[in-house]
């Protein structure tokens, strides 16, 4: 006689929990790092050294930590974050972010990435493309647009303009 397992009706709401081990097992597979696709733009007006100098300055102004600035090789690399913001009881934690800029004498290439620390700790997953979320863009764009402007390339147009300094009282 064929055995038919009996599941009490009261246990039915718990059935979705049965898929949890499968989900856990599926997620235990280590993902491969995703290569960042750098954004390229013409930058013939600037030398590699000037590009690196301007890039390092922009990065520091925007709260990044410059890890490498090689004027000879035309390479600048920096990290930022994680960036925490309080939302009442809630919290956002964006980043850490990675930025890598390279100048080959004629054009520049900039790659930006996000490390998802809550997912296997080392997973650069996003470039500055349509998949980037707005929180990420807020961290990337001031630097990337600054480099584009420096090279005379079109910017995203989404970097907020810096607030003008408050006018000093008359007589001072």
């Amino acid at each position: 006689m064929r055995y038919v397992p009996h599941v009490p009706r009261a246990a039915l709401p718990l059935l979705p929990l049965a898929v949890l081990p499968a989900v856990l097992a599926a997620c235990a597979t280590a993902p491969r790092p995703v290569t960042a696709a750098p954004m390229g733009f013409a930058c013939a007006a600037a030398t590699p050294a000037a590009f690196v100098g301007r890039g390092a300055a922009l990065l520091r102004e925007n709260g990044w930590t410059v890890r490498e600035a090689d004027s000879t090789a035309g390479v600048v690399r920096a990290t930022r974050g994680p960036v925490y913001a309080g939302l009442g009881e809630n919290l956002t934690a964006d980043g850490p972010y990675l930025l890598s800029g390279r100048h080959d004498g004629r054009s520049a290439q900039v790659a930006v990435q996000v490390v998802e620390t809550r997912q296997h700790r080392v997973v650069p997953v996003e470039n500055l493309d349509d998949r980037s979320n707005d929180a990420d863009r807020r961290n990337f764009l001031p630097v990337v647009d600054g480099l584009r402007a420096f090279c005379g390339a079109p910017t995203s147009g989404r970097t907020p303009a810096p607030r003008p300094p408050a006018a000093l009282p008359p007589g001072r």
């Binding site: 718990l14 309080g86 939302l87 009442g88 009881e89 956002t92 850490p96 620390t117 080392v122």
Partner: protein, 580 residues
């Protein structure tokens, strides 16, 4: 064959490792709080700041002027028309620990709703211990206590005493950044009935899929309802000479007059909470973000970003609790003393189901002319939220709208007054003008009882909308920011013959983002006629004709004055809010 990582990928991974391994000062993004506040006070447990203990403290103190409901007694003063008071709406400590990047532990303890007359610990008075409940020594309790494991960004699982809920955005609302002074309470559909101050014990899975879709699915075990536990708390009070002296037995305690969760219905077909419930409650909520994707690290949804984010989302959710409610349905006929007779739906349950019959459906006497029927609680809701910086001079708009379709079983309505300070006038009677008649010594309350409650939950539907405009910086001359707000509730419940539209208007004076602010709010509460005590000042009895005049408990109408105008009551609340 497994593909080897490319040199570019290897370089990216190396830099990522460097970013995590090297000491880095955690940066702060401009948020809705004080500049530089970042995520609040933290103790970092690792150099890369991925492991930390975060602590948040807050206090919300209310100063109120309230017109009390008709028939209200405040601190043994029958017939109190209005009251000015101060109270602690919330004072709490939050601890959020990130043990590893994958493991989160969360805890909130605190106190709520302490007033000068209510919210204290039972029997906590010094001396004779006769008052039962007063406003002193409120009980600190654990609100949230849960842990979470991150599988990936698509799924995180956790369990404990949870704020994580389904149904709507505001069912998961943060309390630190409300647009209005408080939530409308419609959003917390089981508040302190089968939950513990909007928390329940359960398991959840939540996450983000398709980049812009946040979801949360929760399976909870709702708290049991003990038969009449809160409505049964009474005390004997001495009446002042101006009120005729003597003593009276009155309901006391937190929301006593309005919180009789399993009060025995005196009529058929009125549902209330089932004190024998033993089922699980699935619930879920999902939202789609069109611009910024909102954080779902913790369950608490933001009330106003003050223009620091560009957010537009729509969401939908549900709650389903099998056998959560029950009511008495009239039998077709009943046999009493050997005689079979039909049962009219307009008659009262006889005998009144109480005691064992109340706790054990079906255990009533053979003469009982009704049947206990268990029904599920079924709610669904859709909502939308928007917060946009206008980029003129720091001004921003915030708007939220939600439609709730609530089903608690037939004719269920629950009256709620936040931080109640009043109870119903004593129901003592004195001789009436005619022989054999009696009249109430004091004015008797309407449907919501004494205090400041009004119908908040019920079987029916609610449309709630709130909006605010953060004024440009120049308009506050650099001293804080101003945010006028408004809300409108359109409510229609099955038991009420007339729905209500409740306007609320407010102003937020924001000193340090959401960290320090003063909020002002005015509200106009509806009043409904009493289903039992009648509206004409006389008891329900055959002698005075009120048994025929007030035949049912359903189809309740708005209270009206002698000119036929609807009676309402007003509140003005000023909230002093600080959080670190």
């Amino acid at each position: 064959m497994r593909r080897s990582p490319s040199p570019a990928a290897a370089r990216a991974a190396a830099l990522a490792l460097a970013a995590i391994a090297l000491p880095a000062a955690p940066a702060a993004l401009r948020a809705q709080g004080l500049d530089g506040y970042g995520g609040g006070p933290k103790i970092y447990l690792s150099k890369d700041s991925s492991r930390f203990l975060r602590v948040t403290l807050w206090s919300q103190v209310w100063s109120r002027w309230q017109q009390m409901n008709p028939g209200t007694m405040v601190n043994n003063n029958p017939g109190t028309e209005e009251t000015k008071d101060l109270g602690i709406r919330r004072t709490r400590i939050l601890m959020h620990g990130q043990i590893t990047p994958r493991i989160l532990v969360f805890w909130i303890i605190g106190v709520n709703n302490q007033t000068f007359t209510t919210g204290g610990l039972q029997g906590g008075d010094i001396g004779g211990g006769t008052s039962g409940i007063d406003g002193k020594r409120p009980q600190v309790f654990v609100h949230d206590s849960w842990g979470e494991f991150t599988i990936n960004k698509h799924a995180q699982v956790g369990g404990g005493v949870l704020t994580w809920s389904g149904l709507s955005r505001m069912t998961n609302a943060a309390t630190l950044n409300f647009l209005m002074v408080d939530a409308p309470i419609y959003n917390w559909t089981t508040i302190d009935a089968t939950d513990q101050f909007a928390r329940t014990m359960g398991l959840y899975v939540k996450g983000n899929v398709l980049t812009r879709l946040n979801y949360r699915a929760v399976l909870t075990k709702p708290f049991a309802i003990v038969g009449g536990q809160q409505g049964a708390t009474t005390a004997t009070v001495t009446l002042p000479a101006s009120a005729g002296g003597g003593t009276a037995t009155v309901n006391v305690g937190d929301n006593a007059a309005t919180n009789a969760l399993v009060a025995t219905p005196a009529r058929f077909n009125i549902a209330n909470w089932n004190p024998t419930n033993n089922t699980l409650m699935p619930q879920a909520y999902a939202s789609w973000d069109f611009f910024d994707v909102e954080s779902q690290t913790l369950p608490f949804t933001v009330g106003s970003y003050l223009g620091t984010r560009k957010v537009l989302n729509v969401g939908a959710g549900f709650q389903y609790h099998p056998a959560a409610m029950r009511y008495v349905r009239a039998k077709d006929s009943v046999t009493v003393a050997g005689t079979r007779r039909p049962v009219s739906p307009t008659e009262a349950p006889v005998p009144v189901p109480a005691g064992a019959a109340q706790l054990a459906p079906g255990a009533s006497t053979a003469a009982f002319n009704g049947d206990w029927v268990n029904v599920p609680m079924r709610h669904w809701a859709v909502d939308a939220f928007a917060d946009f910086p206008l980029n003129h001079d720091g001004d921003a708009v915030t708007a939220h709208t939600a439609y709730y379709d609530l089903d608690y079983g037939p004719n269920y309505v629950r009256n709620i007054g936040i931080m109640p300070i009043g109870v119903s006038n004593p129901g003592t009677t004195v001789a009436g003008p005619n022989t054999g008649q009696t009249r109430f010594q004091f004015e008797q309350p309407g449907f919501a009882g004494g205090g400041a409650g009004y119908p908040v939950h019920g079987t029916g539907n609610i449309w709630y909308t709130q909006a605010g405009y953060l004024l440009p910086r120049r308009m506050s001359k650099g001293f804080g920011r101003l945010q006028p707000t408004g809300a409108l509730s359109v409510v229609k419940f099955e038991r009420l013959a007339e729905g209500y539209v409740m306007p609320e208007v407010g102003l937020n004076w924001i000193f340090a983002g959401q960290n320090a602010k003063i909020q002002l709010q005015w509200r106009n509460r509806p009043q409904y006629e009493s289903p039992t005590a009648t509206s004409d000042g006389n008891p329900l009895s055959a002698a005075n004709g009120n048994t025929a005049k007030y035949p049912t408990q359903v189809g309740l109408r708005r209270l009206r004055d002698a000119n036929g105008r609807k009676i309402s009551r007003q509140d003005v609340i000023v909230q002093f809010h600080v959080h670190l």
